[in-house]
């Protein structure tokens, strides 16, 4: 596979390490009432869709950036690649 890195252009996916669903960005609030339940769902349950999937790849043999890749799990077609840090911020993550 080829991942079109937003800064570096097309790179072989072999340079990357895969983590999983980009929902892993959405780490729950540790102080919330339902933190135990929320962390269980965050840690263990997955949509695992047959189709569009937003997922995290780490450019370990490159610039060490984490990317959010939108890829079809039926065809492997990649429709979007974003810097995970930007995505995280857009999802409201900060400090």
């Amino acid at each position: 596979m080829i991942i079109n890195h937003p800064l570096l252009g097309p790179r072989d996916a072999a340079e990357f390490v895969y983590l999983g669903d980009a929902s892993l960005i959405d780490r729950p609030d540790w102080q919330a009432e339902d933190a135990a339940e929320a962390f269980y769902e965050y840690g263990y349950l997955r949509d695992n869709p047959a189709g569009q999937h937003q997922e995290l790849w780490y450019h370990e043999q490159g610039d060490r950036s984490w990317l959010v890749v939108t890829r079809d799990t039926l065809t492997h077609e990649i429709s979007k690649v974003e810097m995970a840090r930007d995505v995280a911020r857009s999802r409201g993550r900060s400090k």
Partner: protein
Amino acid sequence: MSRPISLIRKGNVCVPDYTLTSAPPLAGTDITIGGARLTAPADLAVVSIALPLGGEAAAQKAIKTAFGTALPEVGKSAIGKNGARLVRLGRDQAFVLFIHATPDAEAVVAARLKGKAYTTDQTDVWCALEISGPDSRAALERICPLDLHPQAFAVDDAARTSMEHLGTLTIRTGENAYLLMSASSSAGSFLHAVETSIKNIN
């Protein structure tokens, strides 16, 4: 208890009982096979520069002042004062490569940047080989997944990738010349990989 680093100076009042000698892993490498030559640049210092969050503009300005050239775009390198090469590796990370023999490269760079960026000495983290000559690209084709065609990888372009299970940084330094850097601990395997590639095309 910490005191400033004082480098070995002639006439130092305190003569040490022991001296340390430098033995970089690829020192002295100079191999020519067919149309490719492989050399290890001597005294190449590497210092990483990280741009502070929120302080990027100030850091970039300091870099420009320090090296006489702006920090290039990611994937590019630029040559500044005294031949120092700035290599932009990521959004907030760059390397500066320059010739400097003593083990205080980081301090030198830090002093020039005046606290506007975070610096880490990387000199001994890496080993370097320069491959040059008309067969360079053909040899690298055996191990390098990057498209090194001039249309795709111009002079001064830089990219990290993996070759034969080794992380590498490749910088195109000339029409037929590339500076290859890899981890110093695996320098022997790295040299073996590049040298085998040259042998295999000859």
